[in-house]
Symmetry: C2
Subunit: 316 residues, 2 copies
DNA sequence: ATCGATCATGCACCTATTGTGCATGGTTAT
DNA sequence: ATAACCATGCACAATAGGTGCATGATCGAT
């Protein structure tokens, strides 16, 4: 649990606190107890001779100095990651621990094979996979719990493409299919357009969730406002709802149907073909690390394999 | 003893090892025991998954990866120092520990007043002064045992003016006087030239010492080769030798005669007036720190005071 | 060759840093 | 007013990290 190193772990903790703003959340994210986080930050202030935190209501918040330190530590972390990566590459060596993070369908389709491959090619490397949603993946990267995350890119998120803390690389654009009940008028079709389905009752995630913004973006692009009938979190649930005839929904191509009863998957055609962009994210500077490079290659190969399999599928 | 922070202390230890090449010397310099240094470096290799050391005869030496890491850590350290300095300045705060280093006459004339001033202006700052020769001062800076050093600049040394690990600032040029026995024919003079004293038996430090290079440089500048009769380490000893009539010697203006018997101090005039340049050195990046800035100002004020007192003296 | 010096390292042991779990006190929302 | 939440202090436990000494390996000098 304590594989952080080189940069004082208490500074890492401070950075995490800088993100989530409360001791409790910091503890949850870092894997420490709240008392430990509190003690760490107190000790950090003592050793640096800086006041970093102030009481604020029932919580605490960063002082100006604290915010300054958090922001200024970005290049420091990046520099270290970069140095480590270069040293690894120069010495043709590989670290002993490697943390991966990703959301469910990516974890199943991309992360699992990656972990398996790494496990066989580097027998004495302990690979750890954490399933987490994209936002949490970024937090886990900051907390140095994981070293590489596979996530869906989100424009609406607080982590921009050019965040100084991360480097990102597109792996694949995963199209969204539409799933409809088997007894739906369009069920015998192969493809459909969003316009054709505009008046259907839709099943989506709760507002603010990972895919909701993708959902709304897709429909605003075609200029219609879908009627949201039901909300579900897991794809399993989406599928079940559709199977029960409650409505229609979007399902990423990567998410398998598992031969669900009474559910048909249709490709979306027409002007707007919504996709989710799946990217790999690492801490800035670490991208040159041999292990990261190897992982990215494996991911890319898998992503390409998936894409070509789809093409062959379509050729049938 | 363990005020190092933020950058993993084991990396600091590795850097020190990179300089002195042996575990024992590293231990001496860092203040750890040899076992501790050995264990630290072993642990560092484990946690980084890199092989940094190799057996070499009865000792160990850095691998290519190790050297790479040591060299590459320079900017990392500088970046941290810079960040800390900026945060300190931004928050108008001051660290809790401050280490000073310097050689004897600088320690007496410049460092002691500095420490006294800091002690009074920052009552809860613990100031530590280490007397050490210039080369060791640089090592102590690397080892993070001290934060600021007052040293004589040496062109022949392995630490150049532009070393990426340090920043240096000239405090004052301290002229070298000549000291001769009271019964010497020139004893009644106020000044002398090096040429006039070329044939005297000279007292100097051992070859390779801090001042020996200064000594030879002065005489090569005037084109004569002095006869070195005796060697002494401490100025006290130099003075005693001269007082005993064993020869003549050079003595920095900053080093006091303490009313020694039978010794006269003469200013050196003529084409070549040897001086030793006294500079302050800090770890790169830390120069913006408020405490460092304040210290440098105090040092500069003291240096200027010394210079003006000399001018007034000469006016008499 | 032999002996002594020099180095690094392993081991037993000790210390103090740093973690957890629980209780407490202050602060906000219902 | 009461409940929920948040940070923190304290007793206690684990463990990282230190010292000192003994050991083994290598080199230089006699």
């Amino acid at each position: 649990m304590h594989n952080r190193c080189m940069i004082d772990p208490r500074l890492i903790t401070l950075r995490v606190f800088g993100r989530c703003g409360t001791i409790g959340a910091t503890a949850e994210l870092t894997g420490y107890s709240p008392s430990a986080v509190s003690a760490q930050l107190r000790e950090l202030q003592r050793v640096l001779g800086m006041q970093l935190l102030t009481k604020d209501g029932r919580g605490v918040r960063l002082t100006a100095t604290g915010r300054f330190l958090v922001a200024g530590s970005d290049p420091l972390i990046a520099q270290w990651e970069s140095l480590r990566a270069a040293a690894m590459a120069a010495g043709d060596q590989v670290q002993s621990h490697f943390g991966l993070g990703g959301f469910s369908s990516a974890a199943a389709q991309l992360l699992a094979p990656l972990a398996a491959t790494l496990r066989s090619t580097h027998p004495l490397l302990e690979v750890q996979v954490l399933e987490a949603d994209p936002a949490r993946c970024f937090d886990l990267l900051i907390a140095e719990r994981i070293d590489l995350a596979v996530i869906v890119a989100m424009q609406s998120d607080s982590y921009g493409e050019d965040d100084p803390r991360f480097e990102q690389r597109v792996l694949l654009d995963d199209p969204l299919d539409v799933i409809i009940p088997g007894d739906h008028p369009l069920a015998s079709r192969e493809t459909a357009t969003l316009e054709e389905l505009a008046s259907e009752p839709w099943i989506t995630e709760a507002a603010g969730s990972t895919y909701h913004s993708l959902f709304t973006a897709a429909f605003t692009a075609v200029g219609v406002t879908p009627r949201i009938a039901h909300e579900a979190v897991e794809w399993e649930t989406h599928i079940a709802f559709v199977g029960a005839g409650l409505g229609v929904g979007l399902l990423p191509r990567l998410a398998p149907l598992h031969g669900a009863e009474n559910v048909v998957r249709l490709r979306i055609t027409g002007r707007t073909r919504p996709t989710r962009r799946i990217v790999a994210a690492v801490r800035r500077g670490s991208i040159a690390s041999p292990l990261i490079q190897e992982s990215l290659n494996i991911l890319q190969v898998n992503a390409n394999r998936i894409l070509t399999e789809r093409l062959e599928e379509e050729d049938l």
